[in-house]
Amino acid sequence: MVTSDYSMGEYNVIPVFGLLIGIAAGLFLEPTVPVYLQPYLPIAVVAALDALFGGLRALLDGMFDDKVFLVSFLSNVVVAALIVFLGDQLGVGTQLSTGVVVVLGIRIFSNAAAIRRHLFKA
């Protein structure tokens, strides 16, 4: 499994490069975020963290796939924003946000634990 994973190495670098370029651009260009997107930012960032931890764990599990990573990243962010939007429309925005944060938090926690087991063998 591991060997087959590293044979795909040249592709796996793409999302990492892309993300780094994007982060650098975001840090240096400093464009303003439109006001109507502001309510979705916290949940979107938590969803992005979940995707990042998932990707890191998959990498250590030897199952990393750039396409799956990017698609899950994008869908995580979009779905999280959509849930907040829907919650706001239904008047349960805060509660839904809390639910999303709890679920994503548990996932981040479990993935972080798996990463720790990989890195420290403990």
Binding site: L20, G54, L70
Partner: protein, 286 residues
């Protein structure tokens, strides 16, 4: 295991915790199943090498996602500009309005003093008796500053007032102290520099105590002018003393009483009457 008729296709036993599928899914399978599926495809050699277009699309998506996430994180970390601006505006407004209030209050006091002086000088030759009556009335009303011997009662919030709202001094505590001092023969009383006149109220608004509609903060110093012995014994025998000692033991509200040779209580505001008219002199209200 459930008995099954067809051993070739055993029906999977219903899990004991089937009703908790959602929680189990979250807890035990935090990794996206897509990773395993993709790894399986790769292992079986089913996946064709990525086309150049796919790689470019992936790269663009990655850049956009990194950019968006970085922007969102930066945006969340910086203080909300709208809130800060509104807060600064309100702060400035409060400060400037406070200064204006102080100026107007000082102006009012100066004008009141000049009115008194002019009135006295005008009446001096016409009716010297009336000047004395006016001065005495003003003193009794609390609209003239007074000095003399007396006692100060200092009441301070409890030590854990920050966590326990009950450890704050309440308006009723100050009211009972003031009432006890009046009944003990106090002739003039001021709380934190606010003179108590005939129309002064002591009440709370939210967590603040207002004396004559001016907010005062702890420690509250009640200055009472009068016979020191009478005031001290009167206060000690009053129900206010019991209340204060109960507050001290229960909430840590500290009270201290001190006698002074020479105390000063400032003048209170003169209430201007707009609607009330004095009764006619023929009605004999003199």
């Amino acid at each position: 295991m459930m008995p099954d008729a067809d051993p070739a296709q055993p029906r999977p036993a219903r899990a004991v915790d089937a009703s908790m599928t959602l929680l189990n899914e979250v807890m035990h399978r935090p990794l996206d199943p897509g990773y395993a599926a993709a790894a399986g495809r790769r292992a079986r050699g089913e996946e064709a090498p990525r086309a150049a277009v796919t790689i470019v699309v992936l790269l663009v998506v990655a850049i956009v996602l990194g950019f968006g996430t970085a922007r969102a994180a930066i945006e969340l970390r910086k203080p909300q500009p709208g809130v800060v601006a509104a807060r600064t505006l309100l702060q400035d407004e409060i400060t400037s309005t406070r200064a204006e209030v102080a100026t107007l209050t000082a102006q009012n006091a100066a004008l009141g003093t000049s009115i008194d002086t002019l009135r006295d000088s005008a009446l001096e030759f016409v009716d010297p008796e009336l000047v004395r009556t006016v001065a005495l009335d003003g003193f009794t009303n609390g609209t003239v500053a007074a000095k003399g011997p007396g006692i100060t009662v200092t009441v301070a919030d409890g030590a854990d007032a920050a966590t326990d709202p009950a450890a704050f001094v309440q308006d009723s505590d100050l009211q009972s102290v003031v009432n006890a001092l009046w009944s003990a023969g106090a002739e003039a009383i001021a709380i934190n520099g606010q003179r108590l006149t005939a129309t002064t109220s002591i009440r709370s608004a939210g967590s603040a105590i207002l004396v004559d509609l001016v907010g005062v903060a702890g420690p509250y110093e009640v200055v009472a002018i009068g016979n020191r012995n009478d005031l001290e014994t009167g206060l000690a025998r009053s129900s206010a003393a019991q209340q204060l000692s109960a507050l001290g033991s229960q909430y840590g509200i500290k009270t201290s009483v001190a006698t002074h040779e020479d105390l000063l209580v400032p003048a209170g505001p003169t209430r201007v009457l707009f609607s009330a008219q004095p009764l006619g002199t023929d009605n004999g209200d003199k």
